[in-house]
Symmetry: D2
Subunit: 327 residues, 4 copies
């Protein structure tokens, strides 16, 4: 039974203070607030015609409830449920309308324990792509990808590629050819989903798309003007892997956001995944800059889809170290 996963389409994540989160995501990053209530903030990018791509939920502790993928049709949900059940993985149905703006949702936990969800229906709203008068800050256009620490990248890779139908654009390998990190996609750019070797599962970052590098430069300037210099963790810079121009931020709760633009089209079936050596100085930042320790060590826990408790972490199977960039 086959299915068609379209793209990563939303993330539901805890924050401790909705007003602080609003100031960061709306005023500084330029996301659009579709609506809010006492415990939720629903945000979208400027080009998005759907209700939201990010749900921030007020809570005492950080945690990610689910990474949401849009599928083509309702029947894809059934096919996906059958797959996860067959693998003995947790499955939970959420009825249409029980979450704001959403149709029926299939929530599962993947082979690494990451809470995923699949849905085919979300309310649509006015797209602000050409409301340039409303552009502010970093001018976020849409969600692009998520990146997760998992203890066994090879296992996650096999599940996503062989079972879920993702394709690989680029990957990082150790000297003895073990996959240390992988960039996987359904929509044809570099990724919807990346995995990196580390204690996990944990959410490393949510990648948000902007239209050009100057939006990132201006975003930094606005962040600094508003007193958010502490939020800037890494970059701006050019990635070797993906070729994207990027910036990594930490939101007021420490959740990591990447602002991202300028990768490339991966639609061709004969496009061969690009291999990077773990210790290539241009892999992380094409210009040679090293990432800070926090970028390698800190991440957000996932929450169990049944209990709501943090998903238990496992140690990485490959040596978990900051790449050793010898020059």
């Amino acid at each position: 039974m086959s299915f068609n996963i379209i793209r990563v389409a939303r993330v539901i994540m805890n924050v401790t203070d909705l007003d602080k989160a609003r100031d960061f995501y709306v005023n500084a990053l330029g996301m659009v607030e579709t609506e809010a209530d006492d415990t939720h903030l629903y945000l979208r990018g400027l080009e998005e015609h759907v209700h939201h791509c990010l749900v921030l939920k007020k809570a005492e502790q950080p945690g990610v409830h689910a990474i949401g993928y849009k599928v083509y049709k309702e029947r894809d949900l059934e096919a996906l449920a059958a797959l996860f059940e067959e693998k003995g993985l947790p499955v939970k149905w959420i009825e249409a309308g029980s979450q704001r703006a959403m149709g029926k949702i299939l929530r599962v936990q993947d082979i690494s324990g990451i809470p995923l969800e699949f849905f085919y229906e979300m309310e649509t709203v006015e797209r602000y792509l050409q409301r340039y008068d409303l552009y502010r800050g970093a001018r976020i256009q849409r969600i692009d990808h998520v990146n997760c620490f998992v203890p066994d990248v090879q296992k996650a890779y096999d599940f996503y590629v062989n079972e879920l139908g993702f394709r690989c654009s680029e990957y990082t390998a150790t000297d003895d050819d073990q996959i240390w990190a992988a960039w996987l996609y359904r929509k044809p750019n570099v990724h919807d989903q990346a995995f990196m070797n580390g204690a996990g599962p944990r959410l490393h970052h949510i990648g948000l798309w902007v239209s050009d590098p100057m939006s990132i430069i201006h975003g930094c300037d606005v962040l600094a003007s508003m007193g958010y210099t502490q939020a800037i963790e890494r970059g701006p810079g050019r990635h070797g892997l993906s070729n994207a121009f990027f910036l990594y931020l930490r939101d007021p709760d420490g959740n990591r956001i990447e602002i991202y633009t300028g990768d490339y089209l991966t639609s061709d079936p004969d496009f061969k995944p690009i291999r990077w050596s773990l210790n290539d100085p241009r892999r992380q930042t094409f210009w040679g800059h090293q990432a800070p320790d926090s970028w390698f060590n800190e991440a957000t826990p996932f929450l169990d889809i049944h209990t709501g408790e943090p998903v238990r972490l496992s140690e990485a199977v490959l040596e978990k170290h900051k790449p050793d960039i010898l020059v």
Copy 2:
């Protein structure tokens, strides 16, 4: 029998002087010359891993031999041949290796008489995406789309959407709701193939992708430095329809090229095509600029796949006029 068309992937087009063409496409636009012989110039964009996206063929007269679409697998060719034969449309097989760098090709003429081809195999080459030291001029990254005049846009639309599986992102309608132009895609951005109402079939332009607006601004500066002010026909500007930042050029033989960046993701099945009124001043150029008469009137003929003679033109079924922008 189903098939999977990936994207528009190459155009084969006549030019009268290969050296002049090289100066324009390589030195001014920054395309990469993969190889050349006495009668052909094979060009690709900086991010392309395939041998070429543009074949310029030395000839006495202008003309387009084919618009080439990449398909997923060899068997898609059979399925497509069956469809075209069933419709009584011209079909021709070109064996693998008989065209430089190409596997087996299915060449056909579509419902409007446009010569198309489908293939699943092209030689791959080194990708220059991160050879920034080789970037020059407008820094063309890849082919993005083609746009054709056809006499009956509704008929072309129906064939591409209902028979070939394209989807529509945006369209222009007359006051009485007839489709005057349509933007259709397989890869999920605004288009692979656009049709506009006009005497046809004729190729209006080939759209080439760049990564950001400053590549277009710099491209104009380089063109002017090299004496190509006459080549700049329209723009740079922002399209209303598609939101792309654009520039239209005429190559030394008068063939029209669009440099294009900054449209948006159209992957969602529930994305509703955007309707533009023919007389909306922001449709063509969001900033209100009108296109020159040449842009509405001039185009390149297509060549019959069997005879090589220009495909006979039919007059447009809708009134063929330059939109009347009242202010």
Copy 3:
């Protein structure tokens, strides 16, 4: 008796509706509103530490009260008054404090009848250069220059260069070597003051500086979003003369504004003025675009410093035509 003119520093100009003007200059162009009363709007650019560079005055009819130059010291005003009196040109003193935020002002009419003023003192305010959170629209940084139609450019040139100590960066000459237009400066970029051959004196435009071309592109997008497509008269484009990236706008009263960036340093005493032929297609727009008729014909009247009535126009001494760009 010598004096030191620093730079063009403000313009006082009529508008018919202050709210419409505010929407255009503040919301769309991104100028900072320092203060306003029932009949005045005081605006400055983001980098300016002074109270204003543009005073918009509510009035029934368009008209420019004065082009204001900042001088080094109070005694420069005396020296300038002596010069204008010696030449038999109109002179008027305005006491410190009688205009909002201003010290003592010397107002005069120059050899072409243009109302100028000289001052050395204006209140200073907080500079918003690094308040990126307040940036909007075209992000105007500061006033850069003014451009005026005068009937006899040679006469104006001689007065500004020989009497007022301006230097010439570039000029346009007819085939028989008469000066058709001239770009003159005190601060060392291309100009504070330009003169073009035409019925005059009239103000052709006020040039406002931005920091980079993307501010102009974004400015166009914001203008279009807000319904100001009619305001965009010419550009964006690259000037041949000056090398600046530019955009010409008409404010709600038809006054012309240029958004301008990217000329060059003219500090060297041995920099030789650059001569452009009137009919060089790259002179106006380096990319070959022609300016519209309105750009050649329409301008704002100046007002007499004593009577407040429009200064009487004289016909141009050189043939006043739109350059004939033969291609």
Copy 4:
């Protein structure tokens, strides 16, 4: 006796390998090679109408022969010689023609021991500002400033401001109000000459101007493509002090170059110097990034104008430490 210093206009500096230097400055940074001989490479920026702004001289050891200032007229040289002689500082005349492309030169050592020179005449050449077809790499437009470590910034400040007629745009002060660094100018942008507290005199960097931030981003990409990741020492980023967008590089001999754009106009006599606290995290990089230790410690020696030997260093009078950025 007064004089008029126009701007910093050239630097003469040793390199050990002219071919390596050419690859870095011409191919990667995009400077124009005006001419070269066996022991000299004469480079200029794209907008410069003069023969060079940088002379690289083949030598065994690093060292800076002189920082060159252009003056208004020949008689300014006499006035300057008188000043330096009166102060008991070293003075040396170099006859016109004895250095390539140069008129008469006055070479001196300033109050900190820095070798300066003053000249009013340099050969002019074709300006390449509008030869966009020749733009490459970081597209250097012109020399903008130099920055030097000196042991006593207050003493250097007093000499340049009170004796040489420089003005101060911005400065860094310790908590007890001692000047730790100062930005001084003759041409009206942020600086021609900066001084920082440190063992000196040593040349910290030469600042080269580009027209916009994207030239710096592209410059980084080109440097990385060519294998120069090691050359990128700090940035790109936005300075708090000066507001410039910047990048610091080390040339193949370790000499430091800053690529710089986007400061502001400082022409007004009433512009008040901006004070920054030494420990303000946004002072160095507006976005909060810290500079690496090398940036604080390493610099190029100056050479004595008479002996050619390295000028002896003195320790800094203020505590010489990397600012302590507490957050």
